[in-house]
């Protein structure tokens, strides 16, 4: 979706506040981080769904809010959408019914973190593009989740590397289905992205893009 989270190329944010060198700025953020991961481990949603839940935050709230406010919003939204808590419970803060689920035990955390959750898959087809090939990102504007930022749509770049096949997030976030899609690192010259007048010299952006986002282009 085209919303506040798709920040590449936006103006008007001013200098970066480098004084914020830690991850957690306030104490409650630690809890939101831990709660989000702990709830994620219940297996009721996947990573792409949790990204999409944050993206659906009202664009103004997203941009005004701090990073862990996005996470808090996303977590609350998923808990309700997946039926793990009710709106009433969330507003009152009081449990009306036990979930009947088993929370993940602290002892399991080291193993879980060490294993992670790889998303590479066996390809179902040969990759359509090769390193060095010129491709163009399709012009598309789904309301649903996508990992093709707006600033590369319609822009052409050169495939820098083929990474193999990975879970396609656009589908994964919508239905939970894990379908492999070839993933490429694509190099875009800054002038192609921003126009020669507004781009910096000698600069390029490498963006990881799934095959369904791309089409072959003439030189």
């Amino acid at each position: 979706m085209n919303s506040g989270h798709d920040l590449g190329g936006m103006h008007g944010f001013g200098d970066i506040d480098q004084s914020q060198r830690e991850n957690f700025v306030q104490q409650w953020e630690e809890r939101v981080f831990g709660l989000t991961l702990a709830c994620g481990l219940l297996g009721r949603w996947n990573l792409d769904e949790s990204r999409y839940a944050r993206e659906r935050m009202d664009a103004g709230e997203y941009l005004r809010g701090s990073y862990y406010e996005h996470w808090l919003h996303g977590l609350e939204r998923l808990l309700i959408e997946k039926g793990l808590v009710t709106v009433n419970e969330l507003e009152s803060g009081r449990s009306e019914q036990e979930s009947g689920l088993n929370p993940v035990a602290a002892e399991k955390i080291p193993g879980i973190l060490r294993r992670g959750a790889p998303v590479q898959m066996r390809p179902q087809s040969a990759p359509l593009f090769q390193a060095g090939q010129l491709v163009r990102v399709r012009n598309f504007h789904p309301k649903s989740h996508t990992r093709a930022p707006r600033y590369v749509r319609s822009r052409s770049g050169r495939v820098s590397e083929w990474y193999g096949a990975y879970v396609f997030p656009d589908l994964h976030s919508a239905s939970g289905e894990k379908r492999p899609a070839h993933l490429y690192s694509v190099r875009f010259e800054a002038g192609e992205l921003w126009g020669e007048r507004d781009a910096e010299e000698r600069s390029a952006v490498y963006v990881d893009l799934f095959e369904p986002y791309l089409q072959a282009t003439e030189v």
């Binding site: 970066i16 104490q27 419970e89 449990s95 929370p103 990992r147 997030p169 910096e200 952006v205 990881d208």
Partner: protein, 203 residues
Amino acid sequence: MTDKTRPHHSHSPDEIEQRVRNLENLLVGKGLVDPRTVDRLVDTYQHEVGPRNGAHVVARAWTDPEYKERLLSDATAAIKELGYSGRQGEHMRVVENAGRVHNLVVCTLCSCYPWPVLGLPPAWYKSSGYRARAVTEPRVVLSEFGLELDEDVEVRVWDSTAEMRYLVLPRRPDGTEHLPATELARLVSRDAMIGVALAGPAP
């Protein structure tokens, strides 16, 4: 501007704190979350996993050409050799500052970052300004971080839009030929591995 006289966030810290406390109580009450699990998760990334891991990887690459080769061709496996792997680093790629090339990592869509080697990202990495500007005006951003690149250096910005996580292999500082890997690792800051700084003694 007059903005300064006005609160910058919609909800007071007290309100959010209360909201988070309620949420945790609710989730614990419903049997969805064990608070010790939350503690453990926070503790892991606060105290166990951090940029010292990445510095270890970098120093090893600087001192072991064969390791460096493995690192550049299959970062995930090479990093696992040193014991670092897992969540938000299932698939990693290392990009080298070499020749007339400088690399910079960003995630414009959210905050993707290689946790096993760098821990959790600094708040500025997740800020709107960094995410918006790193791809349009990387040189200006770098100069705000105190890094002025020569005109003939090419800046490569890596936007982490999929599950590949990027780590910058900084250039080894001159005059460090005699230093052992443990000493070299001290010259490798988190910022250097994101690409907003060079390796070297802390300023």
